[in-house]
C-alpha cells in the first residue's frame, strides 16, 4: 500500500475525465453520461479508501506536482498535493457521497425523464473533480482556485433547469453571495503571499509555522498598514474567514443556500449539504495552525458559529417545504462546526463535519425520494402517511433525523455533544464569549430536535393529506440503495469517536478519530493545535462530571424538542400551530428579512448608484467632450458669415487689410516719426 499515495492525483483526475466524457460524448452514451460519472466516482472512492488506509498507517504525502507560474526572481506559484489524515478523511467522504449521489441521480433524473442529462452529469463530474482538488490542495492559492471552481459548478447545477425563471436567478444569487465572500478570501490569499512569501499549508515554509515563529519573535514578517504582527494576522484570518462564511453559508452570507434548493435534489444533497458547504469549514481546519494563534479570530468564529446555529434553527421551525427545512438545518449544523473550531475543538468540529456529511446527505436523498413520490411537490402539508408506502425511505430518513437531532446512539449525538463539550470546558476555562456561544448552541439543540421531528411526522406519519400522498410514485433500487448505505452510516458513524463513553467508563483507546488526526505532520496534528489554542479548560465536578452533565443536558433538550413535535404534529390531522407564535411567525417566515435587505442592497442601492453614475457619465463626462466639439462648431459657424458672396465686401476687407498692414509696418518701421 506504500505506493498508493503516488496515485493520489488520479482521485482528482478521474471525475474530471468523466466530466470531459459526459460533456463530449454524453449524448451518445446510455443514461446520458451517468455511467462515466458513476465509474469515475467509484474509482476515486476506492483510491480514496486505499489512501485512507495508507494514511492511517502513518504515511503522509506533500508533493508539488505542477508549477502554475514560475516567478524568475519571485516566488513560484505551484499546485501540489497534501495527503494527511484530515484530507484523507475528507477524500473518503466526498468520493463516497459523490458516488451515492451519482447512483441516486439515475433514479431522480433518468427515470424522471429529464432532458439535458449530459450537461447534468458533466456538471457533477466537474464539481467532484474541483471539490477533490480543493481537498488535496497543499497551498492557499490552489485552495482558492478550486474554491471558485466549486462555486462555478454550484452555479451551473443550481441553474440546471434554466428554462424556468427560478433556478437561474437562484444560481446567480448563490454565485454572487459566495463571490462576495470570495472577494475577502482573495485579499486574504494575496495578503498571506505578501506577508509570508509562501502560502503552503505544510512543509518547511508553511505559513502557519512561519506565523507561529514570527509571533515567537524568531524572525520578522512584513506586515502592512502599520499593524503589529498579532493584529495583522487577525486581519488576514478574518479576510480568509470572509470566504469561509460565504461558502459555508454562515450568518451574514447564508441567504443563498435556501434559494439554492431550486437545483435538482441530488445536487442539493451533494453540494449544499455534504461537500461544497463543508469547504469553508474544511479550509479553517486545514489552516487551523494559523487561526489558533489569533484568539480574537477564534472568538469571532465561535460567535458566528453559535449565533448561526441558533438563528438558522429558529427559521427552520416554520418552513413548509421539506427541502427548506433541511437547508436551514444545514446552515445551523455548519454553525455548530464553526462553533467547534472557534472553541478550539478541532477534532470535534472535524468529527461533526464527517457525521453531518453522512446524515444530511441521507436526509436530502430521502427528501429526494419523497419528492419523486410526490411528483415534485415539496410542500409537507400535502404529504403525510408515507410511512407504510415507502418503508426503506422512512427508516433511512428516521435514522438520519435521529442523527440530526442528536439522539444517543446515532452519529449526530456524539459529534454535536463533543462540540458542545469542548465549548463548555473552554468557556468555563475563563472565556465568557464561549459560554455565550455555548448557550446559543444549546438552545439550538432544542429547536433542531423540534423541527427535525416536525418534518418527520408531517411527511411520514398521520393521514395522507393529498391524492398523490395516497398512492405515491414508486422508487427503484437506485434510490433505495444509497439511502440504505447512508442510513447505516448515519447510525454507526458515531462509534468512531465516542469520547463521553471513554471518559465516563474509562475505556481507553476508543477515540479513534483523535488518534487518527494525530498522525499528521507535526505542524498539522491535533495535539499541536491543542497546545496552540489560547483556551484553558475548566470543569464543574471534574472532567467526567462535565461530560456527563453536558451529554445529559443536550440529550434532554433534544428529546424535549422531539417530544414537543410529537405532541403537536404526530396526530392524524396535524394543523399549523404557528399562530401561537403571533408576530414572531411573520418574522420567521420572512427569515428575519435577511433576503430582503440583501436584495435591497443589490437592487435598491447598487443599481440606482450605477444608473446615476451612468447618467453622470453620459451627461457630464461625455457632455464635456461634446461641449468641446460644439465650441469649435460654433466658432466655425460664426466665421462663415464673413463669406457673404458680395464682391464689394471682399474688396473692402482687402483694402482694410492693406491699410492695417501699412499702418503696422509704418509704426514698426518708424515711417511716421
Amino acid at each position: 500500500m506504500a505506493g498508493i499515495l503516488e496515485f493520489a492525483p488520479a482521485i482528482v483526475l478521474l471525475p474530471f475525465l468523466s466530466f470531459l466524457i459526459a460533456l463530449g460524448a454524453g449524448r451518445y452514451m446510455p443514461k446520458g453520461g451517468a455511467l462515466a460519472g458513476i465509474g469515475a466516482t467509484a474509482g476515486s472512492f476506492l483510491l480514496a479508501v486505499a489512501t485512507f488506509v495508507a494514511v492511517s498507517g502513518g504515511q503522509t504525502y506533500n508533493q508539488t506536482i505542477y508549477t502554475w507560474a514560475e516567478g524568475l526572481d519571485a516566488v513560484d506559484l505551484t499546485f501540489g498535493l497534501l495527503i494527511d489524515p484530515l484530507s484523507a478523511m475528507m477524500l473518503v467522504i466526498v468520493t463516497l457521497i459523490a458516488f451515492l449521489v451519482h447512483v441516486f441521480s439515475l433514479g431522480y433524473m433518468n427515470d424522471d425523464g429529464q432532458t439535458g442529462l449530459p450537461r447534468y452529469y458533466a456538471g457533477l463530474g466537474l464539481f467532484t473533480a474541483s471539490m477533490l482538488g480543493f481537498v488535496v490542495a497543499d497551498n492557499l492559492l490552489m485552495a482558492f482556485m478550486f474554491f471558485e471552481l466549486v462555486g462555478l459548478c454550484s452555479y451551473l447545477l443550481i441553474g440546471f433547469w434554466f428554462r424556468q425563471d427560478g433556478p437561474p436567478s437562484a444560481a446567480k444569487k448563490a454565485f454572487l453571495v459566495t463571490r462576495f465572500g470570495d472577494y475577502f478570501f482573495l485579499i486574504g490569499v494575496v495578503a498571506v503571499f505578501a506577508t509570508f512569501g509562501s502560502a503552503a499549508f505544510a512543509g518547511p515554509d508553511a505559513f502557519p509555522v512561519l506565523a507561529e515563529e514570527a509571533l515567537a519573535g524568531e524572525h520578522s514578517v512584513n506586515t502592512f498598514l502599520g499593524m503589529g504582527e498579532q493584529a495583522w494576522f487577525t486581519v488576514v484570518g478574518l479576510l480568509v474567514l470572509g470566504g469561509v462564511v460565504g461558502k459555508s453559508a454562515q450568518f451574514p452570507l447564508h441567504t443563498w443556500l435556501p434559494d439554492a434548493m431550486e437545483g435538482p435534489t441530488p445536487v442539493s444533497a451533494l453540494i449544499h449539504a455534504a461537500t461544497m458547504v463543508a469547504a469553508g469549514v474544511y479550509l479553517v481546519a486545514r489552516m487551523y495552525g494559523f487561526y489558533a494563534l489569533t484568539p480574537t479570530t477564534l472568538a469571532i468564529i465561535a460567535l458566528i458559529g453559535g449565533f448561526t446555529a441558533l438563528f438558522a434553527a429558529t427559521m427552520g421551525v416554520v418552513k413548509k417545504e421539506i427541502k427548506q427545512v433541511l437547508a436551514y438545518s444545514t446552515i445551523s449544523q455548519y454553525g455548530y462546526m464553526m462553533l467547534g473550531l472557534g472553541a478550539g475543538g478541532y477534532v470535534a468540529a472535524t468529527f461533526h463535519l464527517m457525521t453531518h456529511a453522512f446524515f444530511k446527505a441521507l436526509l436530502f436523498l430521502g427528501a429526494g425520494s419523497v419528492i419523486i413520490a410526490m411528483h415534485h411537490n415539496e410542500n409537507m402539508w400535502d404529504m403525510g402517511g408515507l410511512k407504510e408506502k415507502m418503508p426503506v425511505t422512512y427508516y433511512a430518513f428516521l435514522s438520519g433525523s435521529l442523527a440530526l437531532a442528536g439522539i444517543v446512539p446515532f452519529a449526530g449525538f456524539w459529534s454535536k455533544d463533543e462540540v458542545l463539550y469542548e465549548t463548555l470546558i473552554h468557556g468555563l476555562g475563563g472565556s465568557p464569549i464561549l459560554l455565550a456561544a455555548y448557550a446559543m448552541g444549546l438552545l439550538a439543540v432544542f429547536f433542531t430536535g423540534f423541527y427535525t421531528f416536525r418534518m418527520v411526522f408531517l411527511t411520514f406519519h398521520g393521514e395522507p393529506r393529498s391524492e398523490t400522498a395516497r398512492n405515491p410514485h414508486g422508487v427503484r433500487w437506485n434510490v433505495k440503495a444509497p439511502l440504505a448505505v447512508l442510513g447505516v452510516l448515519a447510525a454507526t458513524a458515531g462509534l468512531v469517536n465516542m469520547v463521553p463513553v471513554e471518559k465516563l467508563f474509562g475505556i481507553k483507546g476508543i477515540d479513534f478519530l483523535h488518534q487518527f488526526l494525530d498522525g499528521s505532520f507535526d505542524s498539522l496534528n491535533a495535539h499541536h493545535y491543542a497546545e496552540l489554542i489560547p483556551y484553558s479548560s475548566g470543569y464543574i465536578g471534574g472532567e467526567a462530571g462535565t461530560v456527563a452533565i453536558g451529554a445529559a443536558v443536550s440529550l434532554g433538550l433534544a428529546l424535549a424538542g422531539a417530544g414537543l413535535a410529537y405532541v403537536l404534529y404526530n396526530v392524524p390531522e396535524p394543523v399549523e400551530h404557528t399562530e401561537k407564535l403571533g408576530s414572531i411567525k411573520t418574522v420567521l417566515y420572512n427569515n428575519y428579512y435577511q433576503d430582503e435587505y440583501q436584495v435591497w442592497i443589490a437592487t435598491g442601492v447598487v443599481q440606482p448608484i450605477s444608473r446615476v453614475l451612468d447618467k453622470f457619465d453620459q451627461g457630464v463626462v461625455d457632455g464635456v467632450v461634446n461641449g468641446v466639439s460644439s465650441v469649435s462648431l460654433f466658432l466655425g459657424s460664426r466665421m462663415r458669415r464673413i463669406q457673404s458672396g458680395v464682391v464689394s465686401n471682399y474688396a473692402a476687407l482687402l483694402t482694410l487689410g492693406l491699410t492695417a498692414l501699412l499702418l503696422g509696418l509704418g509704426l514698426i518701421g518708424g515711417w511716421f516719426a
Binding site: 483694402t655 482694410l656 491699410t659 501699412l662 509704418g666 511716421f672
Partner: protein, 122 residues
C-alpha cells in the same frame, strides 16, 4: 421734366471710407519720406527712340533702359489670349459659330432663339 444728375449720398458710401483711409496713410507716408532730387534725362535726349530700342534689346538709345524683348512677346500672347477668352465668354451655348445668313425663314429661327431661349436661359 428732366432731373439733373444728383450726387447719390447714403450709407452705401461707407466702404469707400476704407479707400480714403488708405489714401490718408499713403499720403502721410509719402509726405514723410524724403527723396533726393531726381536725376532726370539729358537735355534733348530722344526718349521715344530709346523706348523703341529697349523693346528689341538694342542699346542705341541715348537713355539707358533694360531690354524688354521677352516682355514684348509675352504681352502679345496675353493680348491674343484675352481676345480668344472674350470671344469664348461672349458666345452663347449651342452656336457653332457658322456665319449667320440673312434671315430668310420669316424670323422663326430668331424668335426661337430669342423667346424659346428665354425659358431655357433662366
Amino acid at each position: 421734366m428732366t432731373t439733373k444728375p444728383q450726387l447719390k449720398l447714403g450709407s452705401h458710401l461707407v466702404p469707400g471710407l476704407a479707400a480714403v483711409a488708405l489714401f490718408v496713410v499713403m499720403a502721410v507716408v509719402f509726405l514723410g519720406a524724403s527723396f533726393p532730387n531726381p536725376q532726370g534725362f539729358a537735355e534733348g535726349a530722344n526718349l521715344t527712340a530709346s523706348i523703341g530700342y529697349t523693346m528689341f534689346n538694342l542699346d542705341f538709345g541715348s537713355v539707358p533702359g533694360e531690354s524688354m524683348l521677352v516682355a514684348f512677346e509675352i504681352i502679345d500672347l496675353v493680348l491674343v489670349a484675352a481676345l480668344a477668352g472674350a470671344v469664348l465668354l461672349a458666345r452663347r451655348e449651342g452656336e457653332s459659330g457658322q456665319m449667320r445668313t440673312i434671315l430668310t425663314d420669316g424670323g422663326r429661327e430668331l424668335k426661337r432663339t430669342l423667346f424659346d431661349d428665354e425659358e431655357g436661359d433662366h
